[in-house]
């Protein structure tokens, strides 16, 4: 499990809007290849770890606007859970984002590549959140999402 925090110079509501839709996570979660929306609560993740493809389906279990967001895995070959907490700073003009991400196997010990993936998580999440901060503060977060959508449909 990894828990990292970052302060971003965007208003609370904007930070929440960027992070309450998991399809946008691929813009800063470097090690996730794709996230597809199945319905408003359900998302399918896909990524390659070592020589193996991992796919899992998540469900949003907690979503309080501008406050907190959480999901669990309901199906797949990797058990991911995540929690995001939003705290207003400077009267809501800036935001602290607390991001907790956890990967486990459903059965048994992880194989080497997955074990490495899990053990690298804290450092990776720190890097990922800094990437998010860059995108959010340069106001290019949405552009990245729109570009990705165009590429997929082309």
């Amino acid at each position: 499990m990894a828990h990292e925090s970052i302060e971003v110079n965007v208003p609370l509501s904007k930070a929440y809007e960027m992070l309450c839709n998991p399809v946008h996570f691929t813009k800063f979660l470097e090690r996730i290849d794709s996230i597809e929306k199945i319905n408003s609560q359900t998302f399918e993740y896909k990524t390659q770890i070592g020589s193996e493809e991992f796919r899992w389906t998540t469900n949003i279990i907690d979503n309080l606007r501008n406050t907190r967001f959480a999901w669990i895995t309901i199906n797949g070959n990797l058990n991911q859970t995540g929690t995001i907490r939003f705290t207003p700073l400077d009267n809501g003009n800036r935001t602290r984002v607390d991001f907790t991400l956890d990967y486990r196997t459903f059965f048994g010990e992880p194989e080497e590549a997955l074990a490495q993936f899990i053990s690298d998580l804290p450092g990776q999440l720190d890097k990922d959140l800094n990437r998010f901060k860059e995108l959010a503060e340069s106001d290019t977060f949405k552009d990245e999402v729109e570009t990705a959508s165009t590429e997929v449909s082309a």
Partner: protein, 304 residues
């Protein structure tokens, strides 16, 4: 509930001049107690009102006098932050009030004006899980939190036969110290551990109780422990019984994760209903319409 009055405003309103029950607390704006007790009074054909009033510190003296002297005042529920301090002002207490150091219900004797207090949180907590009590008593119980709500849960469980209770808190030594006096903290019945140790104690536990505000609407934290850890405990060491004292939202992350990984769950709304039912019986001697009130609550609670 934006029309909640302060105590002073209530006293100057027409409601003060008819039979009434009150909820004292600060804040009380979001309480659903007026909804269910008003329904219960109507159902029982009792001509009285139930109002939530915000009690400001400077109003406490006046409220105490009111409770003793006002012929229309029938009784009250008491919530944060007055559950302990009101003990000083009542004339008689149930044993569970003395044991837990908190009351949540008081009743005025119409002849003498005497105030008698009870704590229906104990009965409220136990009633929905009565069918599980044999299993609960055979295994350790894990409680997240060590404040007032947890204290009532500890008393309830010990009185129902639980022999080992593990309280998980941020500062276990401080928690242990605060329980000394009301509970025997050295007999082995109670253990105080930190959040870094909870999983080790959860393996053998059957009942897990959330007695923290985590999961409440607008509270920044959704679950008392990381949901990955909770999911692992439930899937590896389950099935368990997860009981959340938070009743709004109806389905908290704590309960959703428990249910997802095969555990039974008990919603906070059940404790809320049963403690209200016990309060209502204490005041009126009448039965409380549980099903009717449950349906009404389910209409109003946040369901995500």
């Amino acid at each position: 509930m934006s029309n909640v009055k302060t105590f002073s405003e209530f006293v100057n309103s027409p409601l003060a001049k008819q039979d009434h029950y009150l909820l004292f607390g600060n804040p009380v704006g979001h309480s659903l107690s007026p909804v269910i007790h008003s329904l219960a009074l109507l159902d029982a054909g009792i001509q009285a009102t139930y109002s939530a009033v915000t009690l400001l510190p400077e109003e406490i003296t006046a409220a105490i006098a009111w409770m003793h002297q006002c012929e229309y005042f029938q009784g009250a529920n008491v919530t944060i932050p007055y559950k302990q301090s009101f003990m000083e002002v009542v004339d008689e207490c149930g044993e569970e009030v003395l044991a837990t150091g908190a009351l949540n219900t008081l009743r005025r004797d119409p002849e003498s004006g005497f105030l008698t207090a009870v704590n229906t949180d104990i009965e409220g907590f136990l009633a929905p899980i009565e069918v599980y009590m044999d299993r609960i008593a055979e295994a350790p119980v894990l409680i997240f939190g060590s404040g007032g709500a947890a204290r009532a849960v500890v008393y309830a469980l010990l009185s129902a036969g639980a022999e080992e209770i593990v309280l998980v808190s941020r500062r276990p030594e401080d928690a242990k110290h605060s329980y000394r006096g009301e509970f025997d903290v050295d007999s082995g019945e109670l253990q105080f551990v930190g959040y870094d140790q909870w999983m080790a104690f959860a393996e053998d536990a059957f009942l897990l109780v959330n007695a923290t505000p985590a999961g409440m609407l607008s509270f920044p934290v959704g679950c008392p422990v990381p949901i990955g850890e909770l999911g692992t405990v439930c899937s590896m060491y389950g099935p368990k019984l997860l009981y959340d004292l938070v009743y709004n939202p109806y389905d908290t992350p704590f309960l959703i994760v428990g249910h997802r990984f095969g555990s039974d769950t008990c919603h906070g709304v059940e404790m809320f209903l049963h403690q209200a039912a016990a309060s209502f019986r204490f005041w009126t001697g009448c039965e409380f319409p549980l099903d009717l009130c449950r349906k009404e609550l389910e209409r109003r609670l946040y369901v995500g």
